[in-house]
Chain length 381, copies 2
């Protein structure tokens, strides 16, 4: 049984104490997270739609419209016309769903991915009992398409590529991947990159050899994109986008006691809050607003690069996106010493490196406060 | 690209219009949903913790404490000591997780469940490639333990039983199920019942033959319980509870670039909002508060039974919980005609019946408004 019952004011005081223990993004001390503070309008929208549940769509036709509109806006961003998709709980659910679709429609179990794939791929492999074929990266930390050619055969159900890798922010050469996969289904995990790449300066993309990475690539069947990362929406909002209208039928089961006779998504209950939040922030910012935010993040990424070059650190790659890593032989030790100073950076395993995600909360001022602390830590190692 | 960008006030006006299309719980017109309006304190708590992410626990030690505390309170409610568990996105994720644990630790694929299982079981079977063994219900719509005895063999990885079925609110005879399963792993889906059964009058449980259904039953290994249903928390909060500390290791994958070296749950990102909301409402209501709410729901369930008996309808079973169904030969027609009148009831497929979930928003007044509308519809069929 639950002991006692507390007054509202006591509960809220306790919560504020717990909240104070969490590190807030606006403390300027989080440099290793792909999340950030949601946009204020996302918070307002989420709160307004707290009780609705897209898992029972007949009760919330308003939210159904919002989801359709979100998918339509995403279609515009990702060059998918007509746009099909769903708002799920996050990138992991979207990646698992895409793999399940591929397994179901091909009857195969072999999935090809490279070392830059997110760890959710390993979860999907476990859950769906898939046969993993992990291939190497090329010298620019993108999927090695030469090795891809060697492993592609009729047993492969899916090639899982990445547009904006978690560790280094690199973008696989999706056009070459698609050509090399010739006909094998292709999924692109753009959980992070989906809200960055469309808003980057085209000249920057050209100089970094980023060609078409989205549904302009004909072979691309499914894509993951997370509004709760660079989309500035609330958790949980991760989307799956797909080219074929009926793709989600793979997961369909009967749900006759709901207002919809079929349930199509992995989760049953799907809160409307994050859907409304995503709609609100996309409508409010528009491409223009996201372009401004992405530009600022890229400016700060370059600034961090310059400051840490002065500290004697060398970048692993010239960053395409607002993720940047620096070679270091003992990243875990640096990370842990920085934590003791109250700064949260993160690490790359291979090559050993210090990793920074320059989200909107990572301002020049925050970088200026970080650098001397990091320098002192680096000197002590 | 996303066309234009709208002013904050225009976005919020649009959202309010969409929100007005959704049917709100306090309209008193939703009689077929297992969700309800979250408790106000849950909303306040969720909003306070919107930006934190339990998927990266090193950044939110405050939320980690809250989750531990929620699991501890649930342990008290469900007689699990020491209490182990996690707050996930909902009952579906919890049920899938429990099945994956069973598959992984036994190496088997056969899962036994009966016709009262929630449709998420069918999703889990698809995803995890399991071998379903569906058994019948007894004459009280509970798992038929005679048939269970016949199908239990060394190939069964899990018996999936239900404490509070979605359609009729029935509670399987968990003690007999456990004895019959002798040693086979047992999961109880108490997504709905978990926040009802502990707060029901013991005398009511006795007269309805509900014995131990929780971790008092030695054979029970895992349980699903959803705070976002009768717990009055926000979406997404569905919990998995488990007896063995290391049970969740089944899903573990490396996540070195986060503040925790391993990720244990199906989803990666896990918002703190619903965790804080669950903590707040449980701490605020305590057992006493939930007892009061459950009593009111049960009173109204009985009241609905009396009113619809007057309408000539016969209950399928004497309800253990606040879910009640009435025999009818054309439930889908009634349901759809009621929807045209703006009332949302729901249906049972076998036996054909009209189904009502008497959540806290279903007041006597709401029932009094429903009954004449339903009577007119019934007369027209």
């Amino acid at each position: 049984m639950i002991k006692g019952s507390k007054e509202r004011s006591d509960v809220l005081n306790d919560l504020r104490r717990s909240k104070a223990k969490d590190i807030s993004f606006n403390s300027g001390r989080i440099f290793g997270s792909m999340c950030t503070a949601p946009h204020p309008i996302a918070l307002e929208a989420h709160t307004l739609f707290h009780e609705s549940n897209l898992g029972n769509p007949g009760l919330c036709p308003g939210t159904v419209d919002l989801e359709r509109d979100v998918i339509s806006m995403l279609g515009g961003m990702l060059c998918l016309e007509p746009p099909y998709g769903r708002v799920l709980s996050g990138g992991t659910e979207a990646n698992i769903t895409a793999m399940y679709m591929a397994k179901k429609s091909t009857g195969r179990r072999k999935v090809v991915f490279s070392k830059n794939a997110h760890f959710s791929v390993l979860k999907a492999i476990k859950l769906l009992d898939l046969e993993p074929v992990e291939i190497a990266l090329d010298d620019r930390y993108r999927m090695d398409t030469v090795q891809l050619r060697e492993v592609i055969d009729d047993d492969v159900m899916l090639v899982h590529a990445v547009a904006g890798s978690t560790e280094l922010g690199t973008v696989d050469d999706i056009e070459t991947v698609s050509r090399t996969a010739h006909g094998t289904r292709l999924h692109v995990d753009a959980a992070f990159g989906g809200f960055v790449l469309p808003f980057l300066d085209p000249e920057h993309l050209r100089t970094h050899d980023v060609g078409a990475w989205d549904f302009r690539v004909g072979g691309l069947g499914t894509m993951t994109v997370d509004p709760h990362k660079m989309g500035l929406s609330t958790i949980p909002s991760g989307c799956i986008m797909y080219r074929n209208r009926d793709a989600l039928d793979a997961l369909k089961v009967e749900s006759h006691y709901l207002t919809s006779p079929m349930s199509f998504t992995l989760a049953g209950t799907r809160g409307s809050g994050a859907v409304a939040a995503t709609w609100a922030v996309m409508r409010h910012l528009g491409s223009q607003g996201y372009r401004r935010i992405v530009k600022e993040c890229m400016d700060n990424t370059r600034y961090l690069g310059i400051r840490l070059k002065e500290s004697g650190l060398e970048r692993v790659v010239d960053p395409v996106m607002n993720v940047v890593a620096f070679h270091h032989s003992k990243p875990i030790m640096v990370d842990s010493m920085m934590r003791k100073q109250g700064y949260f950076i993160s690490t790359v395993k291979d090559p050993p490196a210090l990793r920074f995600v320059v989200m909107p909360h990572v301002t020049k001022e925050a970088i200026d406060r970080l650098v001397p602390v990091l320098n002192r830590v680096l000197e002590r190692i």
